[in-house]
Amino acid sequence: MKSIRRQMALSIGAAAAILLIGGGAGLHLTLSKTLTGQFDKSLVTKAQALLIASEIDDGEFEIDLDIQAFAGFGSSSPGDYFEVYSEAGRALSRSPSLGAADLPLPENLTSEVSGFANLVLPDGAPGRAYWETFTPSDDLEGEFRGTRILVASDTSQLRKTLRTVALVILLFGGGAILASLAVLYRVIGVALKPVGRLSADVQRIDVHRLSTGLVVDDFPGELQGVAAKLNELLARLEVSFARERRFTSDAAHELRTPLAELRAMTELGATWPDEFTAEHGREMLEVLAELESLLETLSLLAKADSEVSPHLEPVDLESGVRESFERLDADLKRRCLTVDSDISAGSVLTDPVLWRAIVANLLGNAVTYAPEGSILRVEVSPLVFAVENEAPDLDPADLDRLFERFWRKSSSRTEKGHSGLGLSVVRAAVTFLGGECSASLEGSRLRVEVRWSGTSV
């Protein structure tokens, strides 16, 4: 499994190692250049000193022996050498330290006036040389024009120093990389602790008590947003689970009574066939019809409870309401109800199935519960759909419970076909479509009102 801690420690460690190695190499290079520069400078100084001490005596090129010794080229100082060559390459003078040997000539000696070169000294040690082409000051005839002086010194000590420096840089750098890795690992571990806690807390969340959530203030600023969002999602999940549980239990409860009726009727007929009459058959069909309509209502509720987007299309206001009234016509006549309607022309952008359910339920409720011979009032516009009817049995305390699922003023089921789901279907559908519904009581007159947030077309 990938670990953020290990990955961060390794990548930061690698970056630090590259920096340290680069820095070490740079330091070594600079040091090497400086020391070599100083070395070269001393070679030039020595060459200058020898040139000052050179003279032409009786047509012979000479360098004062005292100056030679002073400049460090005596026989007692091995490691420092010089040799003077004529333009033709004949050795004119050489340091006592060379004995009878010659200094090897660098390849570019003839092409340049002066320069530096690395070479192998006669004793086999590594060395560095400086040469300069000159004409001695007292060479009046120009006999010694093009004379070259070559000064060389042993670089073993310089090389050793640079090697030691490289070793120190290497050891220090390596140690620093290892130490920084260990420190990094610890520091990252401390810094990542809240992430580990967040992970542990999330794993501890109880599926059955999602609302417990996380304590946001316990986390550092960077993680508080994550924790807060998680809490919000968990709360929404909990609400949706609770709604689903309530829906299932309500639905099961509501299906029990018609199922019990159907089962008892069937059992009676099956056990005592002489008890089974055509009337029983009709009653059983009635129960089945009620079950079917209950299922339809429940699937409407399930649709409104789901969180997918509604399917919107323009619905004509007037024809929708008229259609519902036509279906209720028989009940209206039987109960001698009068309808006073105020329906404005136009259409509304809505989900046609849910819209029909809202209209049918509100009108159906009014027609069922209004006292015989009373007047219903219906007001329909693209923004408001309201139904008013007399409701002498209701009191203001009932208004809050009016939209609850399965709530009936009386808990009996004597009203056939009314499950107590009608207004809860209305509310669920209206909320789903982004509207609001409310109920108010003026005297004994109930007004149920649905408001849309301006989706008219």
Binding site: S249, A252, H253, E254, R256, T257, L259, A260, E261, L262, R263, A264, M265, E267, L268, T271, W272, E275, E283, V287, S410, S411, S412, R413, T414
Partner: protein, 224 residues
């Protein structure tokens, strides 16, 4: 065996009354809490079958009232409320059993029997009087090992007498236990039923077990 069925769904109530009547119970029906209160005040019932969601007083309120008054008539709750909390509340208030809708009539009958037996402190569903054996659960009767065929009402009559062998039951007591409010028995219905039952219990030359106590009523016992 006289029952009171309190149920507001008309279809379920009518169906259950018919089925229970076919099983030999005398059943009175009540549509709501108020009717149930009125009936309980008038008649003694062996068991009350009680729905919980009722118009007027709820089933639980009724049960609470009866128990507070000291009425210990066994109650079987019949309801669509299926949660554990609902069952516990019903049983805690003094219900003897709890049946969730939908249910089988057969199961309701078995529970009725069990509740009655428990109420009377009987562990066994069989009653023996001399060589007569009555199985209340299976609703069968045997005399000297031979099965006898009784109608539902004859069985109820026998059951009523057999539950208390040796005790004299008046004609009125028997009538109250045998017939529901909906029945209108003739004045000699009990005598006729006793006569028919006595004959069926002694198909051969077996000694008579149901004896008449003139002016008092009838008794089931071995000796005259």
């Amino acid at each position: 065996m006289r029952l009171l069925l309190v149920e507001d769904s008309q279809r379920l109530r009518v169906t259950l009354v018919r089925a229970l009547a076919r099983l030999g119970y005398a059943v009175d029906e009540a549509r709501g809490g108020d009717e149930a209160m009125a009936s309980v005040g008038v008649h003694p019932y062996d068991v009350i079958i009680l729905d919980l969601m009722l118009p007027g007083k709820s089933g639980l309120e009724l049960l609470e009232t009866w128990r507070r008054r000291g009425d210990l008539t066994p109650v079987i709750i019949l309801t669509a409320l299926a949660s554990v909390a609902d069952r516990v509340r019903g049983l805690a208030l003094g219900a003897d059993d709890y049946l969730v809708k939908p249910f089988a009539i057969e199961e309701l009958a078995a529970r009725l029997e069990a509740v009655i037996r428990r109420h009377r402190g009987q562990a066994d569903s069989r009653i023996r009087v001399a060589d007569l054996e009555i199985d209340l659960a299976a609703r069968t009767v045997r005399r000297r090992g031979t099965a006898l065929s009784l109608t539902a009402r004859e069985f109820s009559l026998l059951e009523c007498l057999a539950r208390h062998p040796g005790r004299v039951f008046s004609r009125e007591q028997i009538e109250a236990r045998l017939y529901g409010e909906a029945d209108s028995p003739l004045s000699n219905a009990v005598d006729a039923a006793i006569y028919a039952l006595r004959r069926k219990l002694s198909p051969g030359d077996e000694p008579v077990l149901i004896h008449t106590r003139r002016g008092l009523g009838y008794v089931l016992q071995e000796s005259p």
